[in-house]
Symmetry: C3
Subunit: 262 residues, 3 copies
């Protein structure tokens, strides 16, 4: 399997296109991750708006260049609002990213909401190993929003999910993997402290929508977002040092994404 | 047009009165900006509470010394709750600040909610150029929550809006302008990275309510909040340097407001 | 009254057990404090999930090792959802922490929601002096979410509340006090800037649930969380210096909790 990092010129070019085009990117997400998700998109150069304010769900997905839906948004919105955003985006041809946070952690009704969104043609599905293995029909192993499986164990599952759904699928972990069902690439790197920052995964979903907003290639967009995130985490690790705390690391992660864009 | 900065002794005195009086300031805002808005008010010395917990909207605006309503709060609350908070504040004589985030971005129902709040006698209306031009009856040019117009272009519009509404109106941008419809002042300074920090504008609305809570002069309160914010952004820029990232800048902005108060 | 700090080996051992066992801790809280609460638990080594996504309230409290409910969660959830989480936790034997934020600030309906939760057998109740004096039947003195009383004034009240409710009760202040109604200990230290960081108290409630998740002794769990928080605040104060701002202090607080766990 080939490896791709932010050293790849095409990846750098795609990431910098976010800052050059400054696309409007609209998202529904949970309130734990909303602030970091918006700051990640702003650091990369996009113009994010989040949330279902009155008729925003009916209007903004059509006007936006990219959309993301983190399914934990159901803690603030009826499931029907999530489906409206997905349907309006699909109808308008706006690429949208599905982040099935906590799928497979034992909440059957919630898992049903996630599955209903897969039907609405996301361009990309991203999550951790437990979530994606479960969504692909494998075992359910999640513990709340945390994974209990490694990303290596998820590769065959995400390839199956990609073929089933027609979406590009990306799994985060020690190494990230991105597949369209026929080709799969590995994105190495990053830093273990990403798992100590709440919403770091959710914000990667937002950044994936930011990349999909500027290039008509969902696979390249997903790889770009993951490679930029891994590099930004490495820059953050260098900034705060190996024993730097998770608070400083979170701040430095946003700085890293900003530095890569400027 | 005259320029005012934080060098003005009356501005410094008004800002420091927030810390001396430690007023209770109550707000409804969106969950993306809520954390930063509260931290901005705490740094300045106020005691903020945010959100519509049970009967808070009926009780807290009367007990508070200042109130702010960011209309994106409709993502968590029925529009009627926003109107209740505005009405209770007006009835009790508590000055309240309206922040019409994303007005004019194409969501007609949402824009109607904003307009209904203008009727409830805000002491101050603050926003970016696109929002305020649209609210004053000019063109609708917003892209989600971002402006596509400069603050210079908004001056005549905010002067008209001030005369129409009876409120002091303040527009944020490279230079901020504040008007009561007859006199208009410019607040220069700040830093471009303010546009890379989610909720930075929303939090300026909160700070404006904090200033209005300690002085019975909405114009001076609005100028104070904007001048303190601009100076805090300059302190932040000095702390993180010209190439410092937007993550560190956001932290340093709060530090700047804290330093000005202590 | 005896004093306990993080120097106590049993306290250190209990705190480090959070990182060793990495328990799933589930919470309902307000959206102002949600991000910091999750980051505090992650820094200590727990795996948090927050919010009422579809059937999470019916499922997650039984699967979790610890639960916390910050009653300002009613700004996003019907009161019945808070009671469901409390009841499912009690039924499953999962220890849960009640944080009665803003009780006694004048909102009678809200105060009634808080009281209904006390009936559902929390293992620990934590808050500031105004909240707990009021909840114990003393005077109502709160100003929004801020206290107007000192923690020293609350001691007799929290001892009474502990005997009434059967819960361990902890009050935060210049010195923290923790009691089970018969024995009371003081946890000194910390830093005044904790009161300048929004959600710092709420996040201490989350950390208390994290400690209760790894040891079957609610009193020791509450003392551990408070002693670790006080020490982390001292580490943060040392990191940012005596004049360091509240923005940097908030980041350093999370770093401090991370350092104590690693």
């Amino acid at each position: 399997m080939s490896e791709i990092t932010f050293d790849d010129p095409q990846i750098q070019q795609t990431y910098r296109a976010i800052g050059e085009k400054s696309p409007f990117v609209y998202g529904l997400t949970n309130y734990i991750a909303a602030n970091l998700s918006a700051n990640v998109l702003l650091a990369a150069g996009a113009g994010p708006a989040i949330g279902a304010g009155a008729d925003w769900p009916a209007v903004f997905p059509a006007g936006a260049a990219g959309v993301w839906i983190n399914t934990a948004a159901v803690m603030s919105n009826p499931a029907e609002v999530l489906r409206t955003v997905a349907a309006v985006a699909s109808e308008a041809g706006t690429p949208w990213v599905l982040d099935p946070v906590a799928h497979g952690a034992g909440a059957a009704e919630y898992d049903g909401v996630v599955k209903s969104l897969v039907e609405l043609r996301p361009a990309v599905i991203r999550g951790n190993a437990s979530e994606l293995i479960s969504l692909a029909g494998g075992a359910t192993t999640g513990k709340g929003v945390e994974t209990t499986a490694g990303s290596d164990d998820a590769v065959e599952h995400i390839e199956r999910l990609a073929r089933q759904s027609g979406a590009v699928v990306a799994v985060s972990g020690a190494t990230d993997y991105i597949t369209d069902g026929t080709r799969t690439v590995a994105v190495p790197g990053g830093d273990a402290r990403l798992t100590k920052v709440t919403g770091a995964g959710c914000s990667l979903g937002a950044l994936t929508a930011g990349a999909a907003a500027v290039i008509d290639d969902a696979f390249l967009a997903a790889v770009t977002a993951h490679a930029a995130y891994a590099r930004a985490a490495e820059l953050a690790a260098a900034q705060v040092g190996p024993t730097g705390g998770s608070g400083s690391f979170a701040v430095a992660l946003v700085d890293g994404l900003y530095a890569l864009a400027n």
